[in-house]
């Protein structure tokens, strides 16, 4: 690829040189590396493909494909427990999304702009969930609720998910806030806006794509999360992912294949949406949303 990046002015002038470099590059293309990468992608998508395939199986078998059928999807739609779990998961995801986006955006704005000692302390606290395995956060949350005498329920799942998601929102937004030109906010104040109006009228609109993308991302993460939910949920209703966990552990019904396929499709759409949102606003879209870089 490197050789193709000729300055554009020289390229049309010397077509011969161009074809030569292109062929030269093709000769040096590392076939082994490309084969390895292909294998990697195959193995990466194979499990997903298997789940999707068997969700359309007409037989109950999880290893032999008997023919195309939608019976497991029909079974899912008529399974009241799973449907109510789906509703619970959606409610948890929406609340966690709203809560963590509001708190996380405010935190990101404050962290970038506030250069006090409190600010750096808050920055450290914010990082804790990112370096703590979920099982630890899960255990800790459960103990906190038990210790406070709060019965585990959908509400406790929501609280824990918000706690965990704030960090994600903050990490994603923080780099965006830092990349903003501080003069833009100053310009708003210069033109008569108060500090708060400047944030509302100028900074937040500039952050909107990143805020939306992080909201979508959080929705998907919370919807799929099971460790935190597993530790902090009550007995009934349970989030969908906790139901799936039980099903996978204690003898699987093929219905779960259908649910899993729907969840996979849903998450993939949401992630694609999160990656695409910045482009809707005419910005460079991309993975930096995911990594927070």
């Amino acid at each position: 690829m490197t050789l193709l990046r000729l300055p554009s002015s020289t390229a049309p002038a010397r077509p011969a040189a161009r074809t030569r470099t292109r062929r030269g590059r093709a000769d040096r293309r590392p076939r082994i590396l490309i084969a390895l990468t292909g294998l990697f992608f195959a193995l990466l998508y194979l499990p997903i493909a298997v789940v999707a395939l068997f969700s359309f199986n007409s037989k109950k078998s999880l290893t032999v494909f008997g023919g195309f059928s939608l019976r497991w999807y029909r079974a899912f739609v008529h399974d009241d427990v799973l449907i109510s779990s789906l509703g619970t998961s959606l409610r948890i995801s929406l609340v966690a999304m709203a809560g963590s986006v509001v708190l996380g955006v405010a935190l990101a704005l404050g962290l970038v702009r506030c250069r006090t000692r409190l600010g750096s302390l808050a920055g450290l606290i914010m990082l804790v969930p990112l370096v703590t395995p979920e099982i630890v956060t899960g255990v800790a949350s459960m103990l906190l609720f038990k210790g406070l005498g709060v019965a585990l329920s959908t509400g406790t799942v929501m609280l824990s998910e918000i706690t965990f998601s704030i960090s994600y929102v903050t990490v994603i937004l923080r780099s965006r806030v830092a990349a903003l030109n501080p003069e833009v906010e100053e310009a708003a104040m210069d033109l008569g806006a108060t500090r708060w109006q400047a944030v509302r009228l100028v900074t937040l609109p500039a952050l909107l794509p990143a805020v939306l993308a992080s909201a979508v991302l959080i929705f998907a993460l919370v919807f799929d999360d099971f460790v935190l939910a597993y530790f902090t949920t009550g007995v009934d209703p349970q989030p969908l992912s906790v139901r799936i966990y039980s099903a996978i552990r204690f003898g699987l019904q093929p219905t779960i294949n259908a649910v899993g396929t729907l969840m996979l499709a849903g998450s993939i759409c949401l992630i694609a949406l999160a990656l695409f949102i910045p482009r809707l606003f005419g910005r460079r879209g991309g993975l930096d949303i995911l990594s927070g870089e």
């Binding site: 935190l107 903050t170 944030v199």
Partner: protein, 297 residues
């Protein structure tokens, strides 16, 4: 002297002021402190606490839970978890490096699409993915069938219910955390460096070891930490891919809280896990700080 009152007056307003930013920061910080920091402290406290007959946590000071950690049954699990997690790190590095390298340097204009294709499945439901992976690796699954077809495996070869299965699960679960930082480092890598390396060292292999590898060391270090953290705390892979002899510390913790109802021991195990991870993090931070200091020099 005469200027003092005036300067204190202007200070109060704070055009460079932090007050609004502090207010913005406060709710999120208080929330995190209240729910997360407090709960982590609670785990530490409970590790030396007791429970009443109903299994509710009681504060106290009882080292039974902590002392139980020395039990060989637990140290063995810890050692196994460490071994699995470290092996997972190494395998992830070996897989992720060529993949990230190929995408970053030979991906051309499909680069972004390819890296998105790596990332997207990792946001899909972890359980469903792991379950699918266990089907793929099962005795009748495509992987073993393919291996048997080329003669690399016989009818008795198993992946599930072995340590290899658990590690395969962990690798599948977390390899993306290795690819992303490596890809970022490789993409930032100035291609003229590689070309200069070709000039200086000649062969592509020498160039790789003298130029490319050192330039991506930080990315690899970050990836190792990002894989180690969740791999160490995972309990799903051992459940789906392993048997009773392959349990990890995460399974123990889960067991103490859900089946065994021994909360002080569960808390002590959780603290032990945190301790191992903190040691790992500390090592990483020292390493990167040393690297940065060297880079500055």
């Amino acid at each position: 002297m005469a200027l003092l009152p005036r300067s204190s007056r202007t200070r109060r307003r704070g055009a460079d002021g932090d007050r609004m930013w502090t207010w913005l920061m406060l709710p999120g910080t208080l929330w995190m402190t209240g729910f997360l920091i407090a709960s982590l402290v609670l785990v530490a406290v409970l590790a030396v606490g007791t429970t009443d007959d109903l299994g509710n946590p009681r504060f106290g000071f009882d080292l039974a839970g902590v002392r139980a950690l020395a039990d060989p049954a637990y140290t063995e699990v810890l050692a196994r978890s460490l071994g699995y997690a470290l092996l997972t790190c190494v395998i992830c590095l070996l897989i992720a490096y060529p993949v990230a390298y190929t995408i970053a340097l030979h991906g051309g204009r499909y680069k972004h699409a390819l890296i998105a294709a790596v990332v997207v499945p990792f946001f899909a439901n972890y359980l469903v993915r792991m379950y699918g992976w266990s089907v793929v690796l099962s005795d009748d699954g495509p992987v073993l069938r393919a291996l048997r077809a080329v003669g690399l495996a016989d009818g008795g070869t198993k992946i599930l219910n072995t340590g290899a299965g658990v590690v395969a699960g962990l690798v599948y679960g977390f390899v993306v955390f290795m690819i992303i930082p490596l890809y970022a480092a490789l993409e930032r890598l100035d291609v003229s460096l590689i070309e200069a390396g070709r000039d200086l060292y000649g062969g592509p292999v020498r160039t790789f070891f003298f130029v490319t590898l050192p330039a991506t060391r930080q990315g690899a270090a970050a990836g190792l930490v990002l894989v180690f953290l969740p791999a160490m705390g995972d309990f799903v892979s051992a459940q789906l891919m392993g048997g009773p002899d392959q349990i990890m510390i995460g399974n123990l913790i889960q067991d103490k809280f859900f089946q065994g109802q021994n909360w002080p021991l569960g808390s002590a195990l959780t603290m032990l896990l945190m301790l191992v991870l903190l040691v790992g993090m500390f090592g990483y931070l020292r390493r990167t700080r040393k690297d940065e200091a060297e880079a500055r020099r």
